[in-house]
């Protein structure tokens, strides 16, 4: 009986508490830089597409919302012919970002993507691709990769040793 009255009193005291509600359309909440919202495809510092169409994001996606088709340009550099994300399926888990070896696919703090037509939730490559570098400035996959895409000479990459002159190893 006492505990019932006590809990009623404690509930009543909440009249004097501050409300926690954020009135959203007028007041925007702060979103952390690493907030997982809309997915974008970034470019490197030279404005080339980072994506190498390795399919890792599509493979790791738990709801299969990413579909793409790899192709090569005349230099032999891989890029996606199309890249499609169905945001009506996407659960914003960020696995694609973690799987991406080239930092191409990134999640940004934007969630205001409601649509009246479900078909408008399907984003094509031109909707996804941004002109900037996203969260990782100055990163270029081909500076680390073994494959030569004209970005660096042999042995000039980051964390890469100079090629050995095999003849010097002779006893």
């Amino acid at each position: 009986m006492i505990s019932i009255l006590r809990s009623m009193w404690l509930t009543f005291l909440h009249v004097f508490h501050k409300t926690e509600t954020v009135e959203y359309p007028e007041v925007k909440p702060y979103l952390a830089p690493r907030y997982r919202g809309r997915i974008v495809l970034t470019r490197d510092a030279e404005k080339n597409e980072r994506c190498v169409a390795c399919y890792l994001c599509a493979a790791v996606c738990p709801v299969d919302c990413i579909s793409l088709q790899a192709t090569e340009n005349e230099e032999g550099r891989r890029y996606p012919e199309f890249f499609r994300i169905n945001f009506s399926r996407c659960i914003f888990c960020g696995f694609c970002e973690e799987a991406c070896p080239t930092y191409a696919i990134q999640l940004i703090p934007d969630f205001e993507m409601a649509e009246y037509d479900r078909q408008n939730m399907v984003y094509e490559k031109e909707h996804l691709l941004i002109s900037g570098e996203g969260k990782y400035h100055g990163y270029n996959f081909y500076k680390n990769a073994g494959v030569d895409m004209g970005v660096k000479g042999k042995g000039e990459g980051e964390n890469e040793e100079k090629p050995l002159d095999v003849k010097e190893l002779l006893p």
């Binding site: 009623m8 509930t11 909440h14 009249v15 508490h17 409300t19 509600t21 009135e23």
Partner: protein, 329 residues
Amino acid sequence: MFHVLENFINYNLLFMKYAFIIAGVLFIALTIAAGLIWIERRLLSVWQDRLGPNRVGPFGLLQVVADTIKLFFKEDWIPPFSDRPVFVLAPGILMITILLTFAVVPFGPDFYVFDSNIGILFFLGNSSLGVYSIVLGGWASNNKYSLIGAMRASAQMLTYEVFMGLSLMGVVMMADSFSFCKIVEEQKGGWFFIPQFVGFIVFFIAGIAETHRLPFDIPEAEGELIAGYHSEYSGMKFGMFFVGEYLGITLISALIATLFFGGWLGPSFLPPVFWFLFKTFFFICVFILLRASLPRPRYDQLMELGWKILLPLSLLNLLITGAILIFLK
């Protein structure tokens, strides 16, 4: 000729007066019941550190209007497996029984529809009839959850009916009348909640159970029974159950104010109707506070509380009140 005309005018004036009072009572009761939907949501949000509905109209006041429009335009689906006539009838019974009881509640010294000398019995009888609405609604829905809810409701309401009546007998003895108007008049010497404190507590708890409000909303416990007896209802039929519940709260609050807190009595700088509405509103807020703070007991705990604690308590209250009254005479 002139005499006939005079009679005719007098008769019409009397008729007008009654029509006016009936319309006034209906207007007040229904407005409070509808406004309660908004008040409850706002108050709950205050006690839960939220804002509540504040978008439609000033302070969200038009939320009720928007909800009503929505309810009217919803598909009024009657399940093909239901017992159609009973299904349609059930929500109406609830509204009728509760609205009828408002007829005997004095809103002010001259503001009541009729002063029945069996007012309290009329109220108890009507609230017993209200059980039919829920039982029939649950039965006609032909759905297991509805049926379980209806069974729980009937058991709960019958249990609490018993000592709801008994708890009021102390008041009846002190006022020496079943009439609500007489009871209010008798409280000019002092409100009945002091000598009848036990009766007040028992009536209050029974009132919560009777309106199956939140600590005791076992018939519609949404965690267990979807929505209990009104699971299959939609559109305005659900709306009638919904408004019926709020009318029930208003009625019980009005009765608590009338029977234990002096009804329309109060300092004379404000009209009596104001005091009556103020007291009623206070108890409505207590009802909502109860909802905000207390968890729902188990079904058997509810029945145990009723039969093992509240029934002996109200009987004891009856006995002691009677003994003291006889001793004072």
